[in-house]
Symmetry: C2
Subunit: 338 residues, 2 copies
């Protein structure tokens, strides 16, 4: 690779001059030199070494994002909002997929620290795991202590600013809708217990149940992986355990789609035989048949706000922004048959 020095030599000027021209420094350089340098840059196809620049400059300009999996629409949306703001503010984004592995998450925090990022954004459910939370906080605190910025999406008890999607509230909304429709035998297709998102959404569901004088017995809750196939498996289990179920509440839309597919395979129609509801309002939710009743979280906005907090280096005292959830009525929820 051609270096600054190569360009300087070819143009017959000093390295300082090349640097000034390439970076558009305010210092005035004569047109003649400028032209010579630009020609040399062209001829050598010179591109500055970003790492050397980072070392020489003081200000950082990259932010890191740790998500469970960008190819999951939930995170894709959050990331989109985030990228938009990053682009507006001239920041580069490094995306890391933890695939819901806490250890990998810890590693990524280190990696991002090593990359000298200006801010770290953690999106996605936290874990019910004392040891992990402690380790994570230790690493984040060390980062914060050296001027790093941290913001998290939907995590409790983590250092840094936070954007909190109303998971409990959303669970309550969808639960209320289901119980108000008159369902008595409700199965829940839940994500793994160790995720805080699971427990938050379940808590809202339980609150709705209490208000309607219903309960959610343990055998009506099935935990599985947080994706389409997990949803399918959990639905099978639920249906086998209690064929009287008239409604399935899935803790996200992917799982709801899995549920839909199992019901179809069993010859049960939705919502006539069994209602299904989802959570998140992913884009595909309106295109499945029947269209999913679900809870909408403004994911793009959530992403944008998370990075907004991180880049807006105000008081270091953690700020918390709540983001409301709204119910989206579509066809997959109806009253149970008599």
């Amino acid at each position: 690779m051609a270096t600054l020095a190569d360009v300087a030599r070819r143009a017959g000027v000093s390295a300082a001059t090349v640097s000034r021209i390439v970076n558009g420094s305010p210092k005035i350089v004569s047109d003649e030199l400028r032209e010579r340098v630009l020609r040399a840059v062209q001829e050598l196809q010179y591109v500055p070494n970003a790492h050397a620049q980072l070392l020489a400059r003081s200000h950082r300009t990259t932010v890191g994002v740790i998500v469970h999996d960008v190819s999951d629409p939930y995170f894709a949306e959050i990331t989109r909002g985030l990228q938009r703001v990053a682009a507006e503010q001239g920041r580069l984004v490094i995306i890391c997929n933890s695939y819901r592995d806490p250890d990998r998450e810890l590693e990524y925090v280190e990696l991002l620290r090593a990359q000298q990022v200006e801010a770290i954004i953690l999106a996605g459910s936290g874990y019910h795991d004392q040891a992990f939370t402690k380790a994570l906080n230790a690493k984040l605190s060390a980062y914060l202590a050296t001027g790093g910025r941290v913001s998290v999406v939907g995590r409790h008890k983590v250092a840094g600013d936070a954007v909190m999607p109303a998971n409990e509230e959303g669970g309550y909304l969808i639960g209320s809708a289901v119980f108000e429709a008159g369902h008595r035998h409700v199965g829940v297709v839940a994500a793994p217990k160790r995720l805080t998102t699971t427990t938050d959404r379940l808590a809202g569901l339980r609150r709705a149940a209490r208000e309607h004088r219903r309960t959610l017995p343990a055998r009506h809750i099935e935990y599985a992986s947080f994706d389409r196939d997990g949803g399918a498996a959990a639905t099978e289990a639920l249906l086998d355990a209690d064929p009287r179920l008239t409604a399935i509440v899935a803790l996200n839309d992917s799982m709801a789609i899995g549920a839909l597919s199992v019901l179809r395979a069993r010859g049960l129609t939705v919502p006539d035989d069994v209602s299904v509801v989802g959570f998140d309002d992913m884009p595909i939710a309106r295109d499945v048949t029947p269209a999913l009743t679900t809870v909408r979280l403004p994911l793009v906005e959530i992403g944008a706000r998370a990075i907004g907090l991180a880049l807006d280096a105000q008081q270091p005292n953690p700020r918390v922004e709540e983001v409301a959830a709204t119910l989206v009525h579509r066809e997959s929820l109806a009253a149970p048959r008599e």
Copy 2:
């Protein structure tokens, strides 16, 4: 941030020793010093500056990927395969979204070069644009000339190794299926003309038409953006132009889903009134109603092979690997009504 020097000072050793211990160098270091250094690392929460390391070391360890949009399932799958291999080989991946903007693509090539990546992988359709192709090749050649590696997915006439999904063949397969089912009035929901993927798939479709002594008149081809809403818009236009259509061929699954939604809104049932076929076999294709007949491309494998070629620095003479497409029969395609 604590630096190597800080650690060295605290442990009372030289920087060289710290570096050796932190990086696990083969050079022998006494247990006593090792312990002192590790303690200092702990206490200071030291993390090596990755940029300084990159500058000092010679070998690169990061690869860059330029895709149209990771949140698009097509690229999400490719990226997944790619990441898997990258992780296995201890490489970090930087993902860049060009959002189908050729200029942005060019910029990203520069950026990745600046980041000193070991390889650049370009995935996603090329453009019918002489000037752009020339500019891109110039940049890539400069990069190749300095020891960089390049591999592309589905692009013609670009420097570097290539993995070529059988787009023409896929178009032919799906076209044959449609014509063999007996359809005479076939509408095509196409992506923008300037994408080579569009023309490749259309070419296959045309070949199938010729073999069945049919034609694809221009008014039966509607170009729109390569996503769900584009597919919906194009379907509206097609149906308005010729209500006799009995089949809609969409050039990817997202567009097919848009078509499905328009047909449903117009009270037409699929496949009884109108058949719909897609392309790519995205995961959701089997979960929509009716399940989509489509062409399967092994996207995860394609991603894996692309990075495989890039990292396997053999002869510099460009290698080209073809990847076959297969037809996936599901419910959305049937014979036309009499």
